[in-house]
Symmetry: C2
Subunit: 354 residues, 2 copies
């Protein structure tokens, strides 16, 4: 049994309450300043406002002003904050960390580090660790096909915990793994996090193939989606290895598994569908912005392409080997026509990776 | 420009008429004894009865009695016959083959060879080549995410042509590839065909995850599907390499790509959904048999498991490394309860392949 603090009471943070509590851990859920209503509802014994589903009663809830109490004495602190706010919140969290505490993170994506470089989120966390704690806080990153609500429903789920400190990954695995929430471990953080970020980007392409159905002729484009799925995997493999990662996570739960899940439904796919059905990217993004919908895949395409160009500059990959990412960038950021671009893409991609 | 004879006027055979004709080849479509109505309709200028879609007018159609005329002078003969009838029809075809003719095949699956061993379809074809033509007939096998009707619709599609004779694969690629029907080539026939056969088997498992939604609580099981998808890929990799194949087709169009497509819709998924929603496997299979629906994934699970056990006997793999295939066998052939079995499966599979 461990004491575990979850930082962020949104969808994924609160879902983790389920397996962690089932395993008999002491679980604390800290709400960010944006989560006040969630904490209010939970304290009142109501359903979680996002999931419309109750959390297990044993969880202790904390308001944003109570971070010190929430973290005090914890064995594991799990960051479950949106990617853009992750650095800011972690700057507060480090104030309360003690040597040997494990920091987990379920947040995925890219962001700018202190030097203005686009990096994967592990870097955003690491650069905020004070000198006195350096190498004393192991990080564990969570990836794989996992919709939060299904964790609450206790649907059979398999995820990957990645850490360069395998003992830390195993400790968190031991704390979280139940009969239905299964956890694999890996030391390949780079490849795991690259996939976690890029699957959102590539999923926008899968969504376009779904959207083509809504064009004039009404033809399904499942062949196109299957091909784009394959090429997305191939490009994640190129990106992951150029960054120094291995192939196993790409073809495992963080890559293939999560891309499959993400291609089934969700906001990234929805953006792609809107574009595939005929809206220009600017129209589709403006529309989703109006509706208050944030789409992680949209910045991920830009950030992923910037990272790729930087890797190309360093001689670590050839940018021509990423025709799908380039095409997605042109569609999303230069309003290239989606259907024609995808047709051309498939011409380029077929045979490009072998 | 080449002369190309398609043997079998069913869904995939007749769909290939589209890219082959668009490329200016002389295309001949031979109907099996079961295809008489199809040939009648095409000769009358009507839609293809299966696709409800017209074929290009230039195609020459032949009844089953006209095989000699259909094959006479052909450069490429493409087998598009159901897997159970493939051997019998090919025994007729070889009577008309000339040295140097390329034989393509779009049929996928397993069958018994002359010694009673379960083998992939390339073996079924090869053992029927007369001595005098041995090594003079190169074979090319087609795989990848490709629904026939979408080829007729000219939806952007990417497939793989596999041949131990790369020049033959390239000849057929040259004959068939258009702006929208894209063709990659590989020399890895084993891995390509293993994936082509086994993706149907594993798709039944993906269908179960979809079917769980229809159980009492009405919970989606997309996490489960994403995990099963990943583990299916891992097991196809184990099977393909044990047979002597490489990993590229597994993570390429024949494996990952076609598994993604097959998991979207179709009869294999439908069988899985029926079982997932609560029917026993025997009930679900009996029901589909009553409705005249053949499900390739059902025998593929049995054949695949037999092949795996034979490989294990030969020391080429450990059967314990295939918990998903074993579980699917138990559900489909021993009426093991699907939900409980999948839950146990995921426990075993998570971490089993790394």
């Amino acid at each position: 049994m461990a004491k575990i603090t979850i930082i962020g009471a949104g969808a994924m943070g609160s879902a983790l309450v389920m397996p962690l509590t089932r395993n008999g851990n002491e679980v604390r859920l800290w709400g960010s300043p944006l989560d006040d209503e969630i904490i209010d509802a939970l304290k009142a014994g109501e359903n979680h406002p996002k999931h419309k589903f109750p959390l297990l009663k044993d969880v202790k809830t904390f308001y944003s002003t109570q971070m010190k109490e929430a973290i005090d004495g914890a064995d594991i602190v799990i960051m479950a904050i949106t990617s853009d706010a992750l650095g800011d919140v972690f700057e507060q969290v480090v104030l309360y960390l003690q040597p040997g505490m494990i920091v987990g993170s379920v947040t995925k994506g890219f962001n700018s580090d202190h030097n203005g470089n686009i990096v994967l989120l592990p870097e955003i966390l690491k650069e905020r660790v004070p000198e006195v704690l350096k190498d004393k806080i192991p990080f564990v990153f969570v990836a794989g096909p996992c919709k939060a609500i299904e964790v609450l429903w206790e649907v059979p789920t398999s995820v990957t915990y990645a850490s360069t400190n395998i003992e830390a990954a195993k400790s968190m695995q031991k704390a979280a793994m139940t009969n239905v929430y299964r956890v694999d471990v890996t030391t390949d953080v780079i490849s795991t996090e690259l996939c976690a970020a890029m699957k959102n980007a590539y999923c926008v392409g899968l969504g376009m193939a779904e959207g083509f159905f809504k064009r004039e002729k009404g033809y399904l484009h499942k062949n196109t989606k299957g091909a784009l799925f394959t090429f997305a995997l191939s490009e994640m493999a190129i990106l992951a290895t150029a960054l120094g990662g291995t192939l196993a996570p790409v073809y495992g739960l963080p890559g293939a598994g999560d891309l499959e899940l993400t291609g089934e439904a969700g906001r990234n796919r929805m953006l792609g569908e809107a574009i595939g059905s005929g809206l220009s990217a600017s129209q589709a993004i403006a529309k989703m912005k109006d509706e208050g919908i944030t789409v992680e895949g949209y910045p991920a395409i830009n950030f992923g392409y910037l990272v790729a160009k930087e890797l190309a500059k360093q001689g670590k990959l050839q940018i021509e080997r990423l025709p799908l990412l380039k095409g997605l960038y042109e569609i999303l950021y230069e309003d290239a026509p989606a259907y024609k671009s995808v047709e051309l893409l498939l011409q380029e991609c077929t045979g490009a990776y072998s």
